[in-house]
Amino acid sequence: MPLIHRKKPTEKPSSPPSEEVVVPDEDSQKKPHESSKSHHKKSNGGGKWSCIDSCCWFIGCVCVTWWFLLFLYNAMPASFPQYVTERITGPLPDPPGVKLKKEGLKAKHPVVFIPGIVTGGLELWEGKQCADGLFRKRLWGGTFGEVYKRPLCWVEHMSLDNVTGLDPAGIRVRAVSGLVAADYFAPGYFVWAVLIANLAHIGYEEKNMYMAAYDWRLSFQNTEVRDQTLSRMKSNIELMVSTNGGKKAVIVPHSMGVLYFLHFMKWVEAPAPMGGGGGPDWCAKYIKAVMNIGGPFLGVPKAVAGLFSAEAKDVAVARAIAPGFLDTDIFRLQTLQHVMRMTRTWDSTMSMLPKGGDTIWGGLDWSPEKGHTCCGKKQKSNETCGEAGENGVSKTKPVNYGRIISFGKEVAEAAPSEINNIDFRGAVKGQSIPNHTCRDVWTEYHDMGIAGIKAIAEYKVYTADEAIDLLHYVAPKMMARGSAHFSYGIADDLDDPKYQQPKYWSNPLETKLPNAPEMEIYSLYGVGIPTERAYVYKLNQSPDSCIPFQIFTSAHEEDEDSCLKAGVYNVDGDETVPVLSAGFMCAKAWRGKTRFNPSGIKTYIREYNHSPPANLLEGRGTQSGAHVDIMGNFALIEDIMRVAAGGNGSDIGHDQVHSGIFEWSERIDLKL
């Protein structure tokens, strides 16, 4: 009925169309012209309505197609994408889980995952008014939808207390528990999910897999103080070992989880009030192997840049592309400042500062990686890179990696004698505050005044040791809080009773490994990706910005193969952790019976050469070596599964080394 109704009146005013119908002998070329004319006429008649109508029509069309496609997608058999991929790229290799199941591997040892910084989810348990309705919703991880909806509220809830490093009053944000805590970081962005799925193939399930999720913002000892996380981990490992017929656990920590587990191993054997009271042979009794993935044993230079100016390579690159955008005060965003304020309340970021000082990371004129030549990112294949390195030794200038922060490119390259340092440590902090608007953002820079900032810039070059001093000077409150929980030195005498304090437990250079000769320690990490190692800084000229220092992004080298890119000196690594930090302990300091490893625990190094995904269909690749993507690396998964199913280091092939880690370790002069 309504249709008829509608049709009838159209007959009358539709003289132009009827004309067209009656005279169809006309050239078809005319029609578009005519129709556009009538279109014009019509829009003259009631433009507003028809515009809305056609908008509606358009939206309707889009919706309908969308639903239709959605329907098709849902009706599509689940194996279809795989089929397409196989058609294009040829048959995929079996995932390691399927392959090893065919070989007859079975779940044997219980497996414990320890997620790293950032990858674990955090959820809200109690919040301020502005976070209404977010109870038990993820603030960190998941879709991060709240960051956009209420950014300031989000920053407030994610920050910890400035003074204590614990919860601010009235806010409780806690780690998500269970495997869901870190299987996917964001939808579709796996962290542990691939490993979990493959382990499930050979018979693992919830009862013999355990994700030791912890609040990664806290210092390690505070996770025990506030949440009893270490106690829970101990109890869970004990439970899993006893319910799995006394088979020892295989621990798989990733990234900062590596340090966290070092801390745990000391904690669990320490006597009760401070430690877990597990007795001196707890680790020997319950742990078969520790398989560290991408472990920043000796810290990462990234952490220095992060704490110093709230930026890293990515931010620096973004700034180079769109200068001024991040720093301006438009919208009163002050993004970086807010990020800085937030991250500075997190004690855990300080656990990642470079450890071992100049002995490990190099001084003004030397570094263990000396002679390393960077192959450009452009080169895909690794062989050509090696060749280029050999040929290009004369071409490229040696890089002074030891200078973690240098002000200006010239200084970064100058000979040590040419640099005249003016000590900044004694410099008086001026009271003159350059910018009052920054007061609402707590970054400690406004306490420093212009004199302090000048003094820092004039010191020119900072090595690893001095970078720590620099941070002490720049952010005294934060470092005071942090140094109560972490230490960055090298122990002279490990039997000194002071090393029984928790703050030394996460530094491998200031603790001994437990007395567990049958235990194995693996260091698994990716290589072949340029990784941040040292920075070129400049003073920030922009008057709006509250952070007075910036990575000097225009510091470039013409040479393609240069290690200097956008103000950052790169070295071999997994994009986040340099090889030196991930590999040195297992390559040298813990190898054989040393003072750090008194019981002679066997150590193995397994490096995985990065090869980027061949095409988009592969997603993040199955041979990646990047810090997080390596968790989807088939070779790494296979190694872990073999150990979990009862293999040992010699079963999976001892060391597997692609980088110059052994050569570099040789250069480090450390009492063992």
Binding site: L3, V21, P24, S38, C56, G60, V64, L179
Partner: protein
């Protein structure tokens, strides 16, 4: 009209420009106009959809941006109020979910379940049922021989609070309680959900998943990390008997298949057990579920649209499939009525005698309750004359059998009846699936059903007769009797641990047992069955049906089901008897004389749609959102004792009913 009109013009033009074909004017004109008409229909559909979508988005946007007006704002939650009163988290809390509410996820499956790894099969949106129903059934069923995983399939309980906070999106189970607990300071370290695979028998959860060991270790850990404060356990529904099983298991020494916690374990670690809607003595619903895979709801549906569920259309056989699945779950057997005729009544008498159920239709429970009590006391003679409903006959075949004096019933003893297997030829066309009915001859089915009524004791015999394999498997794990002598060494066997009438409570005089449940909703108590008439060429594989056409004069009998007071699933007698009498004081079931408290919550349906499931509901699952109950749980968790929250609170007749039940104490 005008926009429509103009719009059509536009569309007819665009159509023309797209198809600049027509050459012959006269002949083409007609089809062309038709085409353009059809096209405009498509267009206007699009337009309409676009219009609706836009309006929807606009409303959605408005909904999100406009603050909730004060009148729509929810009243202050008990957590906020108590937190203001200074109630703080004190004892660690363990939640034990019941049957059905816990989520299950896939860990290993057949090819048909590809892509569902670690996705929920049970709980959440249940979308897989619609997409691949048979695959879903296959994965959720257990092995019919062992009651454990079928080969190649591993379905496991979801761990953590997410396991049962919401059963389906927006359908809360524990979420409200958790939120309120969080308001007074609870969080992951002192709040734990002890999820387990609720399809398995309780002992098998330990055998397969070590769920009991994990629970023990968790309780010990929480006790230690929270300053050695005892834990408060909050089980719901079947969780209550699961936790009874745990209490017994944990103190049994390791070599006898226990947890090896030693005799003082419960006294040391547990402050109180706050049972919500506990099914201590089972539920009659389980009988009808096992007998014919139906409950009240399905019987109603069948009477509304007869033939739909039973027809062979689409070869669905929904009920048969469901039955096959639920017969593979041992846990349903744990819910069969326990205590036999002594508790549930024999052919002639029962504990609820004299109870009238006029209350169901009334909106205001205040009114109905007063009426109810008036009826009970003043109209008792009348109801006696009007021949009382015989609740004791849990299953009777035909309305006549449900009302006849016991002397006139056929004196068939199912135990002695020999099961005649064979001649299942007539059902081969439907025999795609396993059901023990297929192996039964028509004669024995008829014989079982002829003019008979079954009490709680004999109905077990009936089930054993009908489904011998299932009952043999399940009765190795569960027992439904009453112990004569609790010190008999045979009661050390785990199959008795979940039956409160065959175990002693632990020796923990300071522990408290609470029974919290809703009342005021008609609850299934007994059924009137009929033989299913075989429809179509293929005999339906389930020969018994609830007779949905039987309606009584009052609401006590409706759709073939007799109702008693309860929380919609669990009758008062099952939820309340143990706390009201069986464990009250020092009895042989409660040798250390721990305190028991009864807290009933009168059902009050939500006043308006806005309240959704209501804050004063007494229904089995909705009661978890009842503010009164939440407040009680919070106070207990914060350290209050039973006396401090007001001791017993009783609305129903549970005390009188318990009086009438005579068992040795």
């Amino acid at each position: 009209m005008s926009p429509l009109l103009r719009f059509r013009k536009l569309s007819s033009f665009s159509e023309d420009t797209i198809n600049p074909k027509p050459k012959q004017s006269a002949t083409v004109e007609k089809p062309k106009r038709r085409r353009s008409g059809r096209c405009s229909c498509v267009d206007s559909c699009c337009w309409l959809i676009g219009y609706l979508c836009t309006a929807w988005w606009l409303l959605l946007f408005l909904y999100h941006s406009v603050p909730v007006p004060a009148m729509l704002q929810a009243p202050e939650s008990p957590g906020t109020r108590l937190s203001r009163d200074g109630v703080k988290a004190f004892h660690p809390v363990i939640l034990v979910p019941g049957i059905v509410t816990g989520g299950l996820e896939l860990w290993e499956g057949r090819p048909c379940a590809e892509g569902l790894f670690r996705k929920r099969l049970w709980g959440a949106s249940f979308s897989e049922i619609l997409r691949r129903p048979l695959c879903w059934l296959e994965h959720l069923s257990l092995d019919s021989e062992t009651g454990l995983d079928p080969p190649g399939i591993r379905v496991r309980a979801v761990p953590g609070l997410v396991a049962a906070d919401y059963f389906a999106p927006c359908y809360f189970a524990w979420a409200v309680l958790i939120e309120n607990l969080a308001k007074i300071g609870y969080e992951g370290k002192n709040l734990h959900m002890a999820s387990y695979d609720w399809r398995l028998s309780f002992h098998n959860t330990e055998v397969r998943d070590q769920s009991l060991s994990r629970l023990k270790s968790k309780i010990e850990l929480m006790y230690a990390t929270n300053g050695f404060k005892k834990v408060v356990v909050v089980p719901h529904s079947m969780g209550a008997i699961y936790f009874l099983h745990f209490l017994k298991w944990v103190e049994t020494p390791l070599p006898d298949g226990g947890g090896g916690g030693g005799p003082g374990w419960c006294a040391k670690h547990i402050k109180s057990v706050v049972n919500i809607g506990p099914a201590f003595l089972g539920v009659p619903k389980a009988v009808s579920n096992l007998l014919s895979a139906e409950g009240k709801d399905i019987a109603y549906a069948r009477s509304l649209a007869p033939g739909l569920l039973d027809s062979e259309l689409l070869k669905l056989q929904t009920l048969e499939h469901l039955m096959r699945m639920s017969h593979s779950w041992d846990s349903i057997v744990s819910l069969l009525p326990k205590g036999g005729e002594a508790i549930w009544g024999d052919l002639d008498s029962h504990a609820e005698e004299g109870l009238n159920c006029i209350y169901s239709k009334r909106k205001s429970s205040q009114l109905s309750l007063s009426n109810l009590h008036k009826q009970n006391y003043s109209l008792k003679p009348v109801s006696r004359v009007k021949e009382p409903a015989k609740y004791g006959r849990i299953v009777s075949f035909g309305k006549r059998a449900s009302e006849l004096p016991s002397s006139q019933l056929s004196t068939l003893n199912v135990k002695e009846l020999s099961r005649v297997d064979g001649n299942s030829n007539d059902s081969t066309s439907c025999g795609e699936f396993w059901s023990e009915y297929n192996e039964m001859s028509r004669e024995s089915i008829v014989k079982v059903a002829e003019n008979t009524a079954y009490t709680a004791t004999t109905v077990l015999d009936l089930l054993r007769f009908i489904a011998p394999k299932m009952m043999r498997r399940a009765e190795a794990h569960f027992s439904h009797g009453i112990a004569d002598d609790l010190d008999d060494p045979k009661y050390g066997h785990y199959k008795y641990w979940s039956n409160p009438l065959e175990t002693k409570l632990p020796d923990a005089p300071e522990m408290e047992m609470y029974c919290l449940y809703g009342v005021g909703i008609p609850t299934e108590r007994s059924y009137i069955y009929k033989l299913a008439t075989s429809s179509g060429k293929c005999k339906s594989s389930i020969p018994f049906r609830i007779d949905g056409s039987v309606d009584g004069d009052d609401v006590c009998l409706k759709g073939g089901t007799r109702f008693a007071d309860g929380d919609e699933s669990v009758p008062v007698i099952s939820a309340g008897f143990m706390c009201a009498k069986g464990w009250r004081g020092k009895s042989r079931f409660n040798p250390s004389g721990m305190d028991t408290f009864l807290r009933e919550y009168k059902h009050k349906p939500p006043g308006s749609l806005l309240e959704s499931r209501g804050t004063e509901s007494g229904a089995h699952v909705d009661i978890m959102g009842n503010v009164g109950l939440i407040e009680d749980v919070l106070r207990i968790a914060a350290g209050a004792s039973g006396q401090e929250i007001g001791g017993d609170r009783i609305y129903s007749d549970v005390m009188r009913m318990s009086e009438r039940i005579s068992i040795k104490l």
